[in-house]
Symmetry: C2
């Protein structure tokens, strides 16, 4: 299959046309129309050492039109393809929820609806992703947007020229689809993604992006798909290292994990969202000693301990001696520490000490 | 007390200095240092028909330094005032969480910490808001930011000139503090706040802000404090009507209610956040018939019914025949309807039909 990563709109539409033509030919030949798609679910998801990502295995299955157990899903998948084709042609985007309403109609001459619940259309959209090797965003179906960015970067998006260094205290709001942004001028040496709005606001007010010559990006907690794709594009197209800045706790580790390795639920789009080259510049257990943060420890709750045990068992962490040592230390300490604790040392300690030191010492977890 | 609404930085710092001087004089006179503050809590919160907002009553209480029950809170309130003064002087901002860490120190010669939990500093910050009649934002203590804006408006913020009509698919990310934004050029007839990111994305892609000559703002769900203040400023300073666009359900009604009347928890800052002139342009029960949305009704769950019963009892809705009729209809129908349902009628139905018709017919709930 052709590499679909940076495929333009016309080519993406062609993939959908070819899918339709394939079904049409089957009908003409008097065959039972079918779609071949990779098996989804845990049994066919694995961590690939070579690529450093969580990816789908090679098991496939056929879905038939003339099969009582398959026909509903078959129709839903083809319906999504049709909606997506219209969206791509008109260069418009729609949300998961909206696709549900667009597809929700009664099949003529019956009292059967094509879909009853949004979970069905969501599933059909994921199926279309694996069949076409295009992401939802490339199919013009978007998630909610969240997060913002600042830095000395000029982009073009939908005909507007946008300078990320002239965004005041707010930043540029990152859209749900970062697929079609064009980088016009990039003056930055690296990118920091942070999990906390408050930290971004501090770094932006300090103009840390100017002082450290970098790009700063935040949402709240997990990075959105739009942000993950943006990080990946900045790495691949602009060759900027990407660092993940989180609290020293297991939730921070998981935020890093999803950015770097991808996730089980989104294994089928890892190649367009995961970034195995991302590095962790969040608080480590050694930083607690180094920066005298002992008094700011927050004892683990049961839920923290349970999550830690889970994550220690992830194959992609088990592969890393450095990470296993870190997680052992965290478990032994039984407490977390927040980036905000640096405020006790001065409002801009993060910008003036922590970040420059991490960068100078290349003190990242990988 | 002077009107603190648009008070500049220097004057805001003076209020804090005066507060400190007051305590200092009490000490010099050999008095027990005390602070006078309005009683907070339900007993002293009321809906004011005159102002059309939820506001604080006039009951006040004294808090004494030399009182075992008061001293801890007294010290915390004065500590926040000191932190805030430093922030205002240096023109820096910090988050609620960060204030907690800044204040978290042991009183010399004791083993007592000034604060143990963030709830204590949060409370102290609210106390300082009522004592000074300044909002948290005016005291340079910020919440998380969320949401974005587009429209033909040029602002100045932190030295940057920002054109909200040239923000591509993302929009300008609205900061947590919209206090110090300067409006330079405003070409808009009204403002729409919407509760859903997906709706904003649709309106932005349709360039509805250009077609309808308006400003479009969204966060996800409840409007942030930064957005509420921005809506208020656009109304008061730019004389733009503000419309709230939500689903036809009780949660949409509450989002509208908080923007318009303020909320019980934030009664002490209603004057700087609430906007009694805001109007509801969300889906009404009559719209279901009018736009043929019956097939898209979603049956109420228990939680919807419970919330509806609560809101029907709010004094500010009881005052309005129009709203009581609407809530009765909603209860009778026992179902909600989403703006996304319009997608079934065409992707841009909202931009091309619903919004222009609401505006033309002035079909708002007030």
């Amino acid at each position: 299959m052709a590499d679909t990563t940076n495929m333009n709109r016309k080519k993406r539409a062609e993939i959908l046309v070819n899918m339709g033509n394939g079904i049409y030919k089957q009908i003409e030949k008097g065959e039972n129309p079918s779609l071949t798609l990779p098996v989804r679910g845990l049994s066919n998801v694995k961590y690939s050492k070579e690529s450093g990502m969580i990816t789908m295995g090679s098991n496939t299955a056929n879905r038939y039109f003339l099969n009582v157990g398959h026909v509903r899903k078959f129709i839903q998948t083809v319906s999504v393809a049709s909606i997506s084709k219209t969206l791509i042609d008109s260069d418009k985007h729609t949300s998961l929820r909206d696709v549900f309403y667009q597809m929700r109609r009664t099949i003529p001459g019956t009292n059967i609806d094509v879909v009853d619940e949004q979970t069905e259309t969501d599933k059909a959209i994921e199926d279309l992703e694996v069949i076409t090797d295009l992401t939802r965003e490339q199919l013009h179906i978007t998630a909610n947007q969240a997060g913002q960015v600042a830095g000395e970067v000029t982009i073009e998006d939908r005909g507007d020229t946008i300078d990320w260094s002239k965004m005041g205290s707010g930043g540029w709001a990152i859209p749900s689809t970062t697929e079609d942004i064009e980088f016009k001028k990039v003056n930055a040496k690296f990118v920091i993604y942070m999990e906390k709005q408050a930290i971004w606001q501090r770094l932006n007010e300090d103009k840390a992006w100017k002082k450290l010559n970098c790009i700063i990006i935040a949402s709240q907690g997990q990075a959105t798909r739009g942000i993950r794709r943006l990080l990946q594009r900045l790495y691949h197209e602009q060759h900027l290292p990407v660092y993940v800045l989180t609290d020293g706790d297991i939730w921070g580790v998981y935020i890093y994990s999803a950015i770097k390795f991808g996730s089980i639920a989104l294994a089928h789009v890892s190649e367009k969202l995961a970034l195995p080259e991302a590095k962790f510049m969040g608080l480590t257990m050694d930083d607690i000693e180094k920066y005298g943060l002992k008094r700011h420890l927050i004892k683990f709750k049961d839920v923290d301990i349970a999550r830690l045990k889970q994550i220690k068992n992830y194959e992609w962490f088990k592969n890393s001696k450095q990470w296993m040592a870190e997680l052992e230390k965290m478990e032994k300490l039984g407490a977390k520490v927040e980036l905000n604790a640096f405020t006790a040392k001065g409002l801009s300690f993060l910008t003036e000490h922590y970040l420059p030191e991490k960068l100078k010492e290349k003190n990242f977890l990988d």
